[in-house]
């Protein structure tokens, strides 16, 4: 493969005419390409320095170098299982959290649709009782999917809606309950504590719940996503990431340092505003897209 060719390049390459000399300009360009993915200046600098150590003064192709980096990213992001953890018996309970506008409600709709199509009976919990028309938004999705929804009054306690949803899932033998929450910033201590309360409350009808706490990250986000992953993991015990809005020109490279620091697996990616625009996370595909113009299409 190309990868092993690059890794096995040796001093003889100096005498080859093709390729580019690895010197400051090349390394600067590489650094720029890496930073643009939002992986952060730290990781980008480490990768650049690593390339400098191995290849400085030799001739290589930028594409080959990027290919080895892709392979490294892929290896790092490959997870044992990107599957949802399901309850051994009784309903599986999924809690969905994240900052304002990241794509929680839409991701829930996509997930519910997916699970319904796989033959599960799904009930949604409209746990965002704060934002204007958040309940209506999720209700419309539930109608389109044809699944049940539990709602509370505006401004009512989100924990009680979450409880009612999970209780209904138990009483009526649903397979999956997915609970929406209002967007919040990880720095808002009291709102983060509310997530802990929701967690505890849904553990009453189903002691093993929640089986998943999915953090929805906007792929457009930069380095603040690291702080989001930290804050939400601490407050809500996240078990996985949904990386939304990957259909845009943003790369979502920030999941690389997040994965390094928190070992949170990316489970799904969002690829649009429609109900079917969600895919299971695929490390090779993601890595491939990191340095290309659009998903899967090399530059």
């Amino acid at each position: 493969t190309k990868t092993s060719q690059v890794l096995n390049t040796d001093i003889r390459d100096l005498f080859k005419n093709d390729g580019r000399l690895v010197e400051d300009e090349f390394l600067g360009e590489l650094f720029a390409r890496l930073v643009r993915t939002d992986m952060g200046a730290g990781p980008a600098g480490r990768i650049r320095d690593d390339v400098a150590t191995k290849f400085r003064g030799r001739k290589v192709e930028m594409e080959d170098i990027l290919a080895t980096i892709r392979d490294q990213v892929e290896a790092m992001l490959t997870q044992e299982s990107a599957e949802l953890s399901m309850a051994d018996e009784g309903p599986t309970v999924i809690l969905v959290v994240g900052v304002n506008g990241s794509g929680k409600t839409t991701s829930i709709a996509k997930l519910a649709n997916r699970l319904t199509q796989e033959g599960n009976r799904v009930v949604l919990g409209a746990g965002d009782t704060f934002r204007a028309a958040a309940v209506e938004q999720l209700t419309i999705w539930s109608q389109r999917i044809g699944c049940e929804i539990v709602t509370g009054k505006p401004e009512s306690d989100p924990a009680s809606v979450a409880f009612a949803t999970v209780q209904k899932a138990v009483d009526d033998n649903f397979d999956v309950a997915i609970v929406d929450t209002a967007g919040r910033l990880q720095t808002q201590t009291h709102l983060m504590q509310q997530l802990d309360k929701i967690r505890r409350v849904i553990g009453k009808p189903v002691p093993s719940a929640p089986h998943e706490v999915l953090l929805v990250l906007d792929a457009t986000a930069g380095q603040n996503a690291i702080s989001q992953a930290r804050g939400f993991s601490e407050a809500a015990g996240c078990t996985g990431i949904v990386l939304s809005k990957l259909d845009g020109s943003a790369k979502g490279g920030v999941v690389i340092p997040i994965r390094e620091q928190f070992e949170l697996p990316v489970k799904f990616i969002g690829l649009g505003e429609g109900i079917d625009d969600m895919a299971a996370f695929d490390a090779p595909m993601f890595s491939q897209a990191l340095f290309s113009d659009s998903l899967g299409k090399p530059e």
């Binding site: 720029a32 930073v35 304002n100 934002r131 910033l185 930069g222 603040n224 845009g248 943003a250």
Partner: protein, 306 residues
Amino acid sequence: MFESLSDGLQSAFKSLRGKGKLTEANMRDGLKLVEQSMLEADVSYSVVQSFMQHVTEKATGRRVLMSLRPGEELVKIVYDELVEILGPVDSSLHLKSDGITVIMMCGLQGSGKTTTCGKLSQLLKEENIKPLLVAADLQRPAAIEQLRVIGRQLDVPVYAEDGASDPVKVCQAGVKQAQQEGARVVILDTAGRLAIDKELMDQLARIDKRVKPDQVYLVVDGMTGQDAVNSAGAFNEALELDGVVMTKLDGDARGGALLSVKHVTGVPIKFIGTGEHFDALEPFRPEGMTGRILQMGDMVAAAREA
């Protein structure tokens, strides 16, 4: 991050001590740290590059004032430059003295457009100016209802057509409605869209062309990363923006994307959003934002200790 930046700056500034002039060589380490700090704040790579070049040119050969240490001098140059780039301040909505002023909000999905429509209405109401909101997002489920709820909460009229499919017509009808109701400002809440979505960008350009809003504001999420240059550039190309609002700055995002947006659009930054409530809108202040992007309070302190 901050620990190392602070430590790093101290040692970088130490090597500057006692030198009479700033040179490329004696500033190198300090500038590297500034560069890294800006990247960590999500300023786009290309924007950081041109900024660093600019600052280096500006600073090179500058005599260090007796009252300042070399490190402080460098920090001051960086700070002043950023303040200048992010300015000038213009938080005016440029309302017409007579007739209706139409303001259009646009931006990526979930950036905070609809909420900011509410905040602007609140601002106008405080000035005894009557606004009318137009529900031109026909895309997102319950987007119309969201605007209606906001209208009810603020006691501001909302023009909406359930089941409509052409936002251009809705906007035109909304402006007519404003004339009948005697509203002075019309705020158009458009659907979120990706800058690379040609069809939806064309739709936005069509609204722009047919409804001719007086002010077009791009609403940018304060947490945005490197892609800000691409998206802001595309919106500006399609619409000729008049201003920018950056939202969600009540958290710990450093908001460096604002520098990228300013760099590619050149339009004034109008307001920052600092919360979900309608009063959480502040006129933009370049000094505050510069301090935030650079964690400057800390950097100034670091320079002083060196």
